[in-house]
Amino acid sequence: MTTVTPQRPGLAPRLTALSKLVELGPGRLDPKLMAEAESLLLRAGDRLKLSSEHTVVALAGGTGSGKSSLFNAVSGLELSPTGVRRPTTARTHACVWGLEGAAPLLDWLQIQWRHRFARASALDKGEGQLHGLILLDLPDHDSIRALNDNEADRLIGLADLVVWVLDPQKYADASTHRRYVTELAGHEAVTVFALNQADRLSPEELAELVIDLNDLLRREGVEHPTVVPTSAVTGRGVESLKSVIAAAVSRRRAAIQKLEADLRKLEQRMSAAMPVGEALAVPSAVDEARKMGLVDALCDAVGVPAVGEAMENIYVERSNRWVGWPYPRWIDRLRPDPIRALRLEDVSDEIKGIATGTVSAQAAEVTNAVQALAEGLSGAMDPVWRSAVHHAARSQLGKVPSALTKDLTEVAPQLDRVPGWWRLLKVWQYALVAAFGFGLLWITLGLLVPGALPPALELMGDTAALPWAALMTVSVLGLGALSGIASRNFVELGASRERERLEREMRRRVAGIAETMVVEPVERELARHHAFYTALRSLSS
């Protein structure tokens, strides 16, 4: 029989947050905590599905503290064998008040059939308030038998309410305190301490002991311990223990309280392992400035500014052969060539071939750029997350240089390109050269053989026209120089415009690659980081 669980709003969202943590945690959260979170989630799911009408109360304690005697005293029957041999109980016994719906719960607790007992008739005896109680008598946790048996541990974890049965001899044992009591902070609502064998002490001694025990428990973080002195032998205190249990049973809240306490404890440990602190201040996305920084660094790795500059320089240098004033070139060519002097004639062609405008990325610089991004982003993070961010940033690092090279080669400048106007200007320059030659010829002829010219050329013989011819010739020369300078300026203008365009385009492509291959994986990790800490915070609130 499963009914709708009466949950205080709070447990469900926190369990959701926990499941989120379990989902995001692997590889980030300590595996031990991770396993605990998983098992708590599983346990919570199971327990909330099972009967909420029942409250599982476990009697736990060291060997010889009188768990079984107390079990029998509470149930009023000799259900669990007691004895003087230590340890006595090796299997858990259960007694159920109100059987309906208890079977699946007992199955879940893995209580063997032959150790299950029912107290249905107890209802008649005015024990109605215990209806819904499943009382467990656990084996001890501190004998040499228990070294190889975690039955007690398992059920202490599963029970809704744990009654720690202590006795005057063993109440301060390290095996109880170090392993269990120090873990109980926050579990006050679902923990009761029964100081059994009170009959062995005088009233004054008992009072002293109760004070001492209270102090001890408080020192270990149990703020308001419920301590009930009992004696299974004389029956003293058994009724008050019963009423403490009955109160918990009738509230039907112990299961939820236990889960809440466990959740709180787990949350505290998680928060201690990974303090939320400033973690949520870490941005969940890569901001623009960092992106710019990365793109800049990647551009440097490809050498975008240098490529642009080289393109411009080479372009201008090359244009000189087309649009430049030809005379200096010719004069230059007359000079002895050092390359030729070194007998490396073919090298000069190759040198021209070097400037082909190939682009490639420097892998080491790419690595450093990505490293710097990850470093800057994860500086304030927990080391585990830091390395996760680094890992994400580098997830495709091996492919980035080749992708950059490939993508940017597509836009690499075509340096052997010759625009049409260059050709036109070349023709124009040569035309001017021809005109200059003609002018020279005119002057020469006019001066030397003014009369000997054929009639078709008699104008040339006209000495009056000679100064004009000279003027024209000089002008042609000047025109060539001027147009050379003008077109060079023009080429430079075009080249720098081309360079700007090229740089923009390259930058755009670099940014695209940076986005898909670096920023996106990093942002996925950042989002995970953010979601994790958000869940952790909502778990703790």
């Binding site: 230590r86 063993k170 001694e205 500059e309 080479i314 050092p338 990325a361």
Partner: protein, 693 residues
């Protein structure tokens, strides 16, 4: 009601009686009268209980000395003992050396084999007690086979001193699994050497120290109070009750403990004080305790106050005999059995007291407990049962402790037996060194090996980084990105050609073109980034490897995940210096080819850049830069410069990496692990100790 437990005891009666005989050496002054009085009282009292069982031969360790009257059946024993009892009066010195042997033989008729060993025991006992007698009386020189002649003591002391020294110098700096245990073990070893072994070897005549240990609430203090008949140790319902060990002894023995070296490291107090630190001990004395034995009430071994466990352990380490107290409710507790296992490992003389036994449960509990003990191989230990009874004023009724009192009294009078018990425990402790010290050495070796592994990790990571760099230089990985673009710029824009000039044209005072500066800078950045990337990779590699190895590695690597902050700066400086060096090389050594220099002059800055490109283009000897520099510098000089430049670069990078890896080495060194010789010293000290024994 108190009965010596007699289930499963297989000890022969002969052993005890034999040992008992050595009482002959008691100096006349030493047995105090109260004890003498006690014996006749105790004897009959005890006899009443085991009387019916007396048919069973064994089991009277608790009463082995006194109850001769009841032992008429074992004739030789009683004769021997009668003789022994007489001897103190009659025989003051000069005992015939052969006498004990002869007696031993005569007694050993039933079991010859045992007799042989017992004869040894007897002579040993006699020997040591002879020594005692000697030291007390100060005059007697006995040339019998003394157990510890002075030179042996000296040898043993010096061997132990050496062992102490080498243990004291141990450091387990790396938090490897087992390091905590090793630290604790070495601390314990040291404390035991100081507190017990060294004093015990030097003064093997000191009274026997009997340590009462056990669980909290087992009634240790109550037991000690009852035996001392004086409330020397506080009792109560609060757990844990006793925090400071309380030693109680006979007033005559008091100087031994108040001033002696035993437990020398502890502060002596006259009575328990609330401000008594963990390193103090209360010493009190009472006439009610027999001479020669001292009881030490210790803190518990299993309460929440964990310091107590350590104090208890330390006390146990200094004990000559252990009395282990447990209760009917506790006898199956895991800590109790851990302690029993320890006692067994150490070979300590042990007696067990099972207290708070209710009458109705007595038989069942006893039987079960004895079975457990037997399964544990402790079936033959002396056992005492104390019933659950009203504790008045912190003491048990006298009747409950009579057995134990007798046992103590017997130890007191029977010096040989006491000496033997002392010796057995000492031997057990010395034996335990055979395993404990090598275990420490073993862990030390683990640490040293681990440190070696970590150091190798560092070395191999940086070596791999160097190799990677070499490969990068050779494969032309450097001629990418900006370097490539600048090179294209340099070549394509005609600067390359312009940097070559015919000789006859005088150099105009031109300055280095911008492009060359940029090219140079690009090369530097490229080289820098390749080196930094390699160093980063190496740092990560070291980190990953250290983390992978153990927690301790991860802890050491903390703060060293990245290359040092100075790396980039240092690399920049190193690369710039290297470039300078190359330029200088080209300028000074590149003049070899006379035929060329007559024709062509070159700009050293530019040429060194071309040279670097050629160098980093790797195997591409057909490339422009390579052919250019070859033509300009000549193959011979090119090779020379190339080799020099490369080795210089390697050396500079090597220095950078050394600086980087030094950080890890320093982290390792600061962890503090001694070198290999420490482990060797430990083994050597153990060996020497064995030799000295």
């Amino acid at each position: 009601m108190n009965t010596a437990m007699d289930d499963g005891r297989g000890e022969s009666p002969g052993e005890q009686t034999l040992r008992f005989r050595a009482i002959t050496d008691d100096p006349p002054s030493s047995p105090p009268d109260p004890e003498r009085d006690l014996e006749p009282d105790a004897g009959p009292d005890l006899q009443r209980d085991p009387g019916p069982d007396a048919v069973e031969p064994a089991d009277d360790l608790t009463a082995s000395g006194e109850p001769q009257p009841a032992k008429e059946d074992s004739v030789p024993d009683s004769e021997a003992e009668a003789a022994a009892e007489l001897e103190p009066e009659s025989d003051s010195e000069g005992e015939d050396p052969s006498e004990p042997e002869a007696e031993a033989v005569s007694e050993a008729v039933p079991e010859p084999e045992e007799a042989a060993s017992e004869a040894e025991d007897a002579s040993e006992g006699a020997g040591s007690s002879a020594e005692e007698g000697e030291s007390r009386d100060g005059g007697e020189a006995r040339e019998r086979e003394e157990e510890l002649p002075p030179e042996v003591v000296e040898a043993l002391t010096s061997a132990l001193g050496a062992l102490r020294e080498s243990v004291a110098s141990l450091r387990f700096g790396l938090d490897l699994p087992g390091a905590e245990e090793a630290r604790k073990a070495s601390g314990e070893l040291l404390a035991q050497l100081d507190d017990y072994v060294l004093p015990r070897v030097r003064m093997n005549t000191a009274p026997a120290l009997i340590v009462v240990a056990g669980s909290t609430g087992a009634g240790k203090s109550t037991l000690v109070n009852s035996l001392a008949e004086k409330n020397v140790s506080r009792t109560g319902v609060r757990r844990p009750t006793t925090g400071v060990p309380v030693l109680v002894c006979h007033p005559d023995d008091r100087p031994w403990f108040a001033e002696g070296e035993l437990l020398g490291g502890l502060r002596r107090l006259d009575q328990a004080r609330s401000d008594a630190g963990p390193r103090s001990i209360v010493i009190s004395s009472t006439e009610k305790l027999p001479q020669g034995v001292a009881l030490l009430d210790t803190p518990d071994i299993d309460s929440v106050v964990e310091e107590h466990h350590e104090i208890a352990r330390r006390m146990l380490d200094a004990a000559d005999l252990w009395i282990f107290v447990t209760t009917a409710a506790r006898y199956a507790d895991a800590p109790a059995w851990n302690l029993l296992r320890l006692a067994k490992e150490r070979g300590a003389r042990l007696a067990i007291v099972l207290s708070r036994v209710q009458d109705r449960a007595r038989d069942v509990v006893l039987k079960h407990f004895v079975r457990m003990l037997t399964e544990y191989g402790l079936g033959e230990i002396d056992r005492f049962v104390v019933g659950e009874s009203k504790v008045a004023d912190g003491r048990l009724p006298d009747s409950e402790v009579t057995d134990l009192r007798l046992w103590l009294a017997e130890l007191s009078v029977d010096e040989s037996r006491r000496a033997q018990a002392v010796r057995e425990t000492l031997n057990g402790v010395l034996d335990s060194f055979r395993t404990r010290v090598p275990a420490l050495a073993k862990h030390l070796e683990t640490q040293i090996a681990f440190r070696g592994d970590l150091r190798r990790d560092v070395e191999s990571a940086y070596l791999a980084a160097l190799t990677d760099l070499d490969k990068a230089f050779r494969s032309g990985a450097l001629i990418h990105g900006e370097v490539l673009a600048r090179w294209q710029d340099f070549a394509g824009s005609g600067d390359l050609m312009r940097s070559l000039q015919l000789r006859k044209r005088a150099r105009s005072g031109r300055q280095t073109p911008e492009r060359i500066i940029a090219f140079r800078a690009a090369l530097r950045t490229g080289l820098e980034s390749v080196i930094v990337a390699a160093a980063t990779r190496a740092a990560e590699e070291v980190n990953a490897r250290w983390r992978h190895r153990a927690e301790a590695g991860a802890a050491l690597a903390k703060g060293l995940e990245r290359p040092s902050d100075d790396l980039v700066r240092h690399t920049g400086r190193a690369v710039a210096a290297w470039q300078e060096h190359v330029t200088e090389l080209v300028r000074t050594e590149g003049v070899a080819k006379r035929s060329v220099s007559k024709l062509v002059s070159f700009d050293a800055d530019a040429l060194s850049l071309i040279f670097m490109v050629a160098m980093f283009s790797g195997g591409n000897v057909e490339g422009v830069p390579h052919r250019l520099v070859k033509a300009l510098l000549g193959a011979e000089s090119l090779r020379g410069i190339g080799a020099k430049a490369l080795s210089d670069l390697r050396a500079r990078i090597g220095m950078l990496f050394d600086e980087e890896s030094m950080r890890y080495v320093q982290a390792l060194d600061s962890a503090g692990v001694p070198d290999e010789s420490a482990a060797t010293r430990l083994y050597q000290a153990t060996y020497n100790l064995e030799v000295a024994r």
